[in-house]
Symmetry: C2
Subunit: 148 residues, 2 copies
């Protein structure tokens, strides 16, 4: 499978968030060639400030593997992670993050800051940006245009 | 109540983590003069890389208040927050963070980086450092000395 194929699955999650009135961001965790966790933003429904797509996907992946160390996993997410999610990625020792749209106002893997660049505990995360960027970005734009 | 009094409650949580073989870090959330949530690190038991004291305390506080916005709350934590937890603090709009020991290797509210200083969405978090610093630090030192 290509990055685009996994990102399509993350976009499907984002679409589910959209339909539920949540900011449309989706994520999947891929481990040894298969999806082991999928999630979308659920902040409003859960009344939980930590219920971002990435955090939920990481929690579910750890549950599936029975370990908090996701060293062999890749995370696909439709929007560049915020500081909390970039920190969660670091905590989980995920090896690769692939994201769609950049977040120029809050992105923490390069745009506003780069949490992963501090390389705490010598953990190195590979970052791939801009996969299906337009599709990921368009879904967010449509969501916010309807709120106005 | 003084900062020290609330920090003693966070230390009690850290002690519980210690007794369970978890890195001894504890946190409480104070809202309008009373504790509405308390938690300690549970990463190993839960096999969850996001199960830090601060994240769990924030999740519980949001559940108690029925809102993800903790704008009137203060978080007391025995160790300087990591990037994930500093990001969760920002996401929850907590107004004040009070911590005990500094984390020179991973602290994200001043030591290695300052996630809160980026002031995304114009949210300002007040930070108080060094409350019961020695007690908080000593508990961590004792824990790690026993692992060797």
């Amino acid at each position: 499978m290509l990055h685009q194929d996994w990102m399509h699955l993350a976009l499907t999650q984002a679409q589910m968030a959209f339909e539920q009135g949540e900011v449309p961001i989706g994520a999947v965790v891929v481990h040894h060639g298969r999806v082991i966790a999928a999630a979308h933003n659920e902040r409003e429904q859960k009344n939980d400030p930590t219920a971002h797509a990435e955090v939920l996907a990481i929690q579910r992946a750890a549950e599936v593997l029975g370990s908090w160390r996701l060293t062999e996993a890749s995370l696909y997410v439709t929007l560049e992670p915020c500081p909390m999610c970039a920190g969660a990625i670091m905590q989980s020792r995920i090896k690769q993050v692939v994201y769609g749209a950049m977040d120029l106002k809050g992105g923490a893997t390069g745009s506003v800051m780069n949490v992963l660049d501090y390389n705490l505990w010598n953990h190195k995360v590979d970052i791939v940006a801009g996969i299906l960027e337009k599709e990921c970005s368009d879904m967010l734009k449509l969501f916010f245009s309807r709120l106005r």
